[in-house]
Symmetry: C2
Subunit: 180 residues, 2 copies
């Protein structure tokens, strides 16, 4: 039920085609929701059938036509109602943590994975910090509507910072061991 609302949230921010949404879900929106283009096209068709969103066909020169989707009034009402319904904390499913938990079965492989993930978190953090620097110069002066997306970026920064620090803690703890 939630990809629908993630799409509404993205489209309420600004109208997009399915293709553009797929790219957003692979980039900034992907920091809090992942979805493939197949899933997105299927869900857009459903939302359109329910009249939660509408579209205009836009013809472009040198490129295929696209369907520019926008949220209808009904869609906005549905989104607001969904926000109003309390939700659970996001359920965790983290393969790396499963690997670490079972680490004694393959200790050296776990250390390698930690190093790999450490680098990825570092890269993501750099990207987020860059976005923060470039697009949010004075956060306290933002108008209310801009504070909401800014806060999701802040979560991303905190999240990646935390993972990076944990990878370091883990690598140090496991390195200490082997040098004993």
């Amino acid at each position: 039920m939630s990809l629908a609302h993630a799409l509404l949230a993205a489209l309420v921010d600004h109208p997009n085609s399915g293709y553009e949404l797929a790219k957003r879900f692979d980039g900034s929106v992907g920091f809090f929701w992942k979805a493939s283009h197949q899933q997105i096209y299927r869900e857009l068709a459903k939302l359109e059938a329910q009249k939660w969103i509408g579209f205009q066909a836009v013809s472009q020169d040198g490129r295929p036509d696209k369907k520019l989707y926008h949220v209808t009034e009904l869609g906005q009402k549905q989104l607001a109602e969904w926000i109003d319904r309390p939700c659970e904390l996001a359920p965790l499913k983290d393969e790396l943590l499963v690997k670490v938990f079972a680490g004694r079965v393959a200790p050296t492989a776990v250390v390698l994975e930690l190093k790999r993930h450490r680098i990825t978190h570092q890269e993501r953090l750099a990207v987020y910090k860059q976005i923060e620097k470039e697009t949010f110069i004075d956060p306290s002066q933002l108008p209310l509507e801009a504070k909401f997306p800014y806060l999701t970026l802040r979560q991303g920064i905190r999240y990646e910072t935390e993972w990076l620090a944990w990878c370091d803690e883990a690598l140090q703890m496991l390195a200490d061991q082997s040098s004993q």
Copy 2:
């Protein structure tokens, strides 16, 4: 493909029945993998059919019989091979962040949700810290095999700490706004 490995990881730690696993996945193991009892029973049947796990029927007095599952040698080999294969970062799907992103559609509801989630994170953090205090008195002196589960607990503590801090940051930023 991964619930299988999460179950192997839990069973390698120690043998359990499906019922006990369901409780573990609702508690400590749930910090990195969520699964319902229905999913668990179905997956256990599959793993047993593939001979990655085996079980002994245990009869108890005053309680129904249970099937105590354990990981076979083949299962351990499979688990080690899976750990060896590099994995992606866990994909995020967080309803609260979707709500915050679309916050301008229902600002007061978002603040309420932030407050609710803040309390839940606070409670979880307290539980994790309690576990750390009670069962890991001197982490640097732990034998290697105990360091692995300890590190997943550390992740849990960092994760909840980070969420709590972010909820506070968000609530403050949104409160500032309304007082202007």
